[in-house]
């Protein structure tokens, strides 16, 4: 999965190690990114990266590695501990919660990007579902426990604030404000539909930009924006793609009446005008200009144009077919073909046709094989037994001699 994401991110061109570029710090971060294991956290971060500018990504990348390296032994030296309880056990818990939340966050972001990175494997989907479930559970638990904000979320907020290279305090308070809102909303909706707002919404909604110019320049391809008033948009609705309302159904103009339109009108027989004729021509031209797919298709076209005998062959249609009476001719042909190294398949085909007696065929005897055929043997031409005389020049046999 990960490679796909890198492929999308604007980061991509930098992730190669330029041989002669003088810049040494840019590749450093890039290497860190591409060198890291394909862990889930990493992936989550990489999805998060889509929200931030390139140099912020770098910042992220390094942080992330520090994280994944350290999280086995000790808590990272971030402010999480300051913000929450200082007790050791709580710290451990917080760390776990935080990681969970970050993992969950990754899932939410994933679903936002579901169109872009839709996994092809079942396994991946399952894990995504599982994480969504986890996150959901956490969310449902949230309002029960405290009236104020869940410490989990506070921890997550501060952690996210740490990640983002903006003013930490502002970021955090903004996040917490958003979370508070979310809490209220989810409380309100507790019994009804499950809340749609998630960490991803919050982050994407969050106004942490330092300046307008920065915002614009940092806007990556996949920024999630919420467009109010228009029809269904990605980001809000992706999660329940299946349940989504079909946009092709709904309110119509209500001008025409089904019955009036469908009822049979007395057909007035008039010759089609030039307009209709030309329209029909135009219509067919688009389809008929497709290049032919194979030799049979070409033969169909020729049949329709009248250049080819119709199949099954109607012997009454023309006079030119002369049944061959002896097989010596074929032996001659065979010797010509094989001696000169020409296409022996031609012989076999003709022989089969002869043996089967179903097709009588007129080929002037003593023929040579044309130069053109020598250059490019076209196997499909072998399938044209019912060629008409006028088309025979296309055959491998030139009419050089006749008996």
């Amino acid at each position: 999965m990960f490679p796909r994401v890198t492929a999308i991110l604007p980061l991509r061109p930098v992730s190669r190690f330029p041989l002669c570029s003088g810049g040494s710090e840019a590749p450093a971060a890039a290497i860190v990114l591409s060198g890291a294991p394909h862990g889930t956290v990493r992936y989550g971060i990489s999805a998060l990266l889509a929200l931030a500018k390139y140099n912020i990504q770098r910042y992220f990348g390094t942080n992330n590695v520090i994280y994944s390296k350290k999280d086995e032994q000790s808590a990272p030296t971030h402010e999480i501990s300051k913000e929450t309880e200082s007790q050791e056990s709580v710290k451990e818990n917080t760390k776990k919660d935080l990681l969970d939340i970050i993992k969950g966050m990754k899932v939410e972001l994933n679903t936002v990007n579901v169109q872009t990175t839709k996994p092809s494997s079942r396994r991946q989907l399952k894990s995504v579902e599982a994480t969504i479930g986890r996150l959901q559970k956490a969310r449902e638990d949230a309002p029960k426990r405290t009236k104020s904000l869940n410490p989990e979320l506070v921890a997550a907020a501060s952690a996210v604030a740490d990640f983002l290279p903006f003013d930490k305090q502002t970021t955090k308070s903004e996040l917490l404000r958003q979370l508070q809102q979310h809490e209220e909303v989810s409380k309100a909706q507790k019994d009804g539909k499950r809340a749609k707002i998630s960490v991803s919404n919050i982050i994407s909604d969050m106004k942490v930009a330092k300046s307008a110019t920065l915002r614009i320049s940092t806007r990556p391809e996949h920024q999630i924006q919420f467009d109010e008033g228009t029809d269904d948009y990605m980001g809000q609705e992706t999660r329940d793609l299946k349940k989504r309302k079909n946009m092709l159904k709904g309110k119509r103009l209500n001008i025409f009446d089904f019955k009036a339109v469908t009822e049979e009108a007395p057909e007035t027989e008039t010759a089609p005008s030039l307009w209709e004729v030309e329209f029909a021509k135009q219509l067919l031209a688009a389809v008929n200009e497709q290049p032919l797919q194979n030799g049979f298709a070409e033969m169909i076209q020729w049949t329709k144009e009248g250049k080819l005998w119709e199949f099954p062959i109607n012997n009454e249609a023309g006079k030119l077919i002369i049944p061959l009476t002896n097989s010596e001719y074929f032996m001659d042909l065979y010797s010509i073909c094989s001696n000169k190294g020409y296409y022996v398949g031609v012989f076999h085909l003709l022989y089969n046709m002869y043996i089967s007696q179903s097709i009588s065929f007129n080929i002037p005897c003593g023929v040579g094989i044309s130069e053109r055929w020598k250059k490019s043997p076209r196997t499909f031409q072998l399938c044209k037994p019912e060629y008409r005389s006028s088309c025979l020049r296309d055959w491998p046999f030139a009419f050089e001699e006749t008996i």
Binding site: A7, R12, R16, F17, L19, C20, S21, Q115, T116, T117, S120, P220, D227, T230, D231, Y233, M234, Q236, R244, N246, L248, K251, L253, I255, F256, D257, F258, A260, V261, T262, L274, W275, E278, L283, L284, A285, A286, V287, E289, P291, Q293, N294, F296, A297, E298, M299, I300, T303, K304, G306, F311, G318, K319, S356, K375, S376, F380, R388, S389, S390
Partner: protein
């Protein structure tokens, strides 16, 4: 993969069939799987009897075969050969095209040859009278375009109208009028048809071949224009002039019916005189006549074409027209709705809701949408979309609705659908959706709607780029083998996408093969592509075998820079490419050639990178050659590179050098610093 399975089955079936052909092996009934049914004739199912063996055998009715039924059955057994050029290109091996440019000129040449032959035959019919074919083949005989009736009569006028002789018809009409002959309403109307359809201009011959000559690189940008140019194809430059022959004859006609008005309105809209058309419609209503559905369609277009009105007003006018249709009991057709949607395309975001309502309306009254209908909707929702905004999901509804359907041509724009659908997939970066679109394309005969050559290329380029971006590398390579070159010839960007996919999946060993293909597909002189290939090969160190392969590839690329024979531009070596090639030679142990590359740096006035010089130093150290090492320092100092200092130190530390060499080194470094101060002072003086 179901497609593969079917393919295999078909091949098998094909073999069976061929054996049958060869041996004439009795009635087909013996091998039910080989039977082909044509047309819609239904055959009672007999398969069940094979299993139970009890039920009565139902003998199929005798059926008449369509003249192409056998051929159709045969054609259905033939698969595309993924290793060969498309059938249309199969010719003398020398002529088989290998790049998209060549394929275009191939098709154009073939078509223009046909057209030239037709033109000669038709312009000199007397030389082509000998009918050697028996029975007669009409399409090989000259067509007669010259009027046969000489005298001045209504029949002569009708003949000229039939032959589409615009000027001759008008002249004949005038002569008849002067002679005081009454001309029937029907004939006058068909003359009006002719004049209005062609905008009072002689129709261009039918020999034109719709091949866009636009460069494929401009494809996406030029898409909009493309559409217009196609629309304007045969009416290019033809605009409705006031007081043209159509208007004159229309005014002269003693009696006019609805048809006369309608054809005038349609002609005016077709040749861009929407305001006049709308006026004439008012006149038609004042004369208590009724417009037909085609005229309403034209009027809708006229409403949308009219300038200087707000979108909202335009839309209300369109609705007004529709209401009039309903009131006059004129049944709308597919073209009515397609015209509306096509016009709404130009309304951008405003058009979205009306478009959806229009679509629902047509569904509700039982008019089956065509591919063009969906095309317009996709264009409306995705064409002007800013990727940073959330995007509409309507394409999913459309694809859900369309999957599995087979289409027949209903609208001239039907062949735009697949291109725009694939563009939307690419925009949404949804591979699964792209597969769904591709599946639809391969359903039945739907492939016929892929459009002309350039649109096919666009479609497949987008599709393949998406595959490169999202798919696992093995599958990507499978697609690569399957599609290229038997379906389309890759553009350089397509190949770069593939290279990046290889890079991401760490399958760089395929690169030399890709380079070979690139050469074949006409990208030998594409610098961006070559640089990308070199960069990927040179970026990291690899196993010795791979390095050898890479160095071979690099040598091949190097030769393309050196022998740009027949090309006007002077060979231009980008600095990066020089670096990459040199480093690739070094790593493969082709030291001599690598040193020659250093010479090229001087020749082309390019500066070697630090990495490269370090690698050269490594190689000098590996071969323990202080002379080479000093040579490198010399080179660095010649370019006044800052790395010179550290290189010198490395030489001092790593190599056993004699006094002479030490002095030489000392000189070099002092020279560098001198030149540095020189240039500094230069700058100071400059200030």
């Amino acid at each position: 993969m179901a497609a593969v399975a079917t393919g295999r089955w078909l091949r098998f079936r094909c073999k069976l069939w061929l054996t049958l052909m060869g041996q004439r092996a009795g009635p087909c009934g013996q091998a039910p799987s080989c039977r082909f049914y044509s047309g819609s004739a239904t055959i009672p199912k007999v398969e069940g009897t094979n299993i139970t063996g009890i039920e009565e055998v139902v003998i199929p009715k005798k059926k008449t075969w369509d003249k192409v039924a056998v051929l159709q059955a045969l054609a259905s057994t033939v698969n595309r050969d993924a290793t060969a050029a498309p059938y249309a290109f199969q010719d003398d091996p020398f002529l088989i095209p290998t790049s998209s440019v060549e394929s275009r000129s191939f098709l154009l040449a073939k078509k223009s040859g046909e057209n030239a032959a037709k033109f000669i035959i038709n312009s000199h019919p007397k030389y082509f009278q000998k009918d050697i074919a028996e029975p007669h083949i009409p399409c090989l005989m000259p067509e007669y375009f010259e009027p046969q009736i000489e005298d001045i009569s209504e029949a002569a006028l009708r003949e000229r109208i039939k032959l589409k002789k615009v000027k001759a018809s008008v002249d004949m009409f005038d002569q008849l009028l002067q002679a005081g002959t009454a001309i029937s309403l029907e004939t006058s109307n068909s003359l009006l048809d002719l004049l209005c359809y062609y905008g009072d201009k002689e129709p261009s011959t039918d020999y034109h071949f719709q091949q866009s000559e636009k460069s494929e690189e401009l494809e996406e940008a030029a898409e909009e224009n493309n559409k217009k140019s196609e629309k304007a194809d045969h009416q290019f430059g033809v605009t409705w002039r006031t007081k043209n022959n159509a208007e004159r004859i229309f005014a002269l006609m003693p009696e006019k019916n609805s048809h006369s008005y309608c054809t005038m309105i349609r002609g005016m809209v077709k040749h861009r005189a929407p305001a006049r058309a709308l006026n004439l419609y008012t006149e038609l209503l004042n004369n208590r006549l009724h417009a037909d559905v085609y005229t309403f369609n034209a009027l809708i277009e006229a409403t949308a074409l009219s300038v200087s009105e707000k979108l909202e007003d335009k839309w209300n006018n369109i609705l007004e027209l529709l209401k009039q249709m309903a009131a006059q009991k004129v049944k709308p057709n597919l073209q009515t709705f397609n015209t509306i949607l096509k016009c709404l395309q130009r309304f951008h975001t405003f058009g979205r809701l009306p478009a959806l309502q229009t679509f629902r309306e047509m569904k509700a009254i039982g008019i089956e949408p065509s591919l063009a209908t969906y095309h317009y909707i996709i264009q409306l929702f995705y064409h002007h979309e800013n990727p940073s905004k959330g995007s509409s999901l309507i394409i999913y509804d459309i694809m859900n609705e369309l999957t599995g359907q087979k289409f027949s041509p209903k609208d001239p724009d039907d062949d735009m659908f697949f291109q725009s659908a694939m563009k939307a997939c690419s925009f949404l970066r949804d591979l699964e959706l792209a597969y769904q679109v591709h599946g639809l394309l391969n359903t039945g005969d739907n492939w016929k709607f892929i459009g002309p050559d350039h649109r096919r290329n666009f479609y497949y380029s987008k599709f393949f780029s998406l595959v490169c971006l999202m798919e696992q590398i093995d599958v990507t390579l499978k697609w690569y083998k399957d599609l290229i070159p038997s379906v389309f010839f890759p553009r350089s960007q397509t190949l770069i996408d593939l290279l990046q996919a290889l890079d991401v999946a760490n399958r760089l060993e395929v690169i030399p093969q890709i380079w070979k293909d690139s050469k074949e597909y006409g990208h030998t002189f594409h610098n961006v592509l070559k640089e990308e290939i070199l960069m990927l090969m040179a970026r990291d160190k690899h196993s010795p075998e791979l390095q050898v392969a890479f160095a071979d590839c690099a040598a091949d690329i190097k030769s393309t820079y050196e022998s740009q024979d027949g090309r006007q531009t002077a060979p231009e070596w980008p600095a990066n490419s020089l670096n990459y090639v040199a480093v690739l030679f070094l790593r493969a142990g082709r030291t001599q050639e690598a040193w020659k590359m250093l010479g090229l740096f001087k020749k082309h006035n390019k500066i070697p990178g630090n990495e490269l010089l370090n690698e050269f130093m490594d190689s000098a150290k590996a071969s323990n050659s202080p002379a080479q090492a000093i040579e490198i320092v010399k080179l660095a100092s010649a370019f006044s590179l800052p790395i010179c200092e550290s290189l010198t130190q490395r030489v001092m530390a790593d190599f056993a050098i004699n006094q002479e060499q030490k002095e030489a080194l000392g000189n070099l470094t002092s020279l560098t610093s001198d030149s540095d101060t020189d240039s500094d002072s230069d700058i100071n003086e400059g200030k």
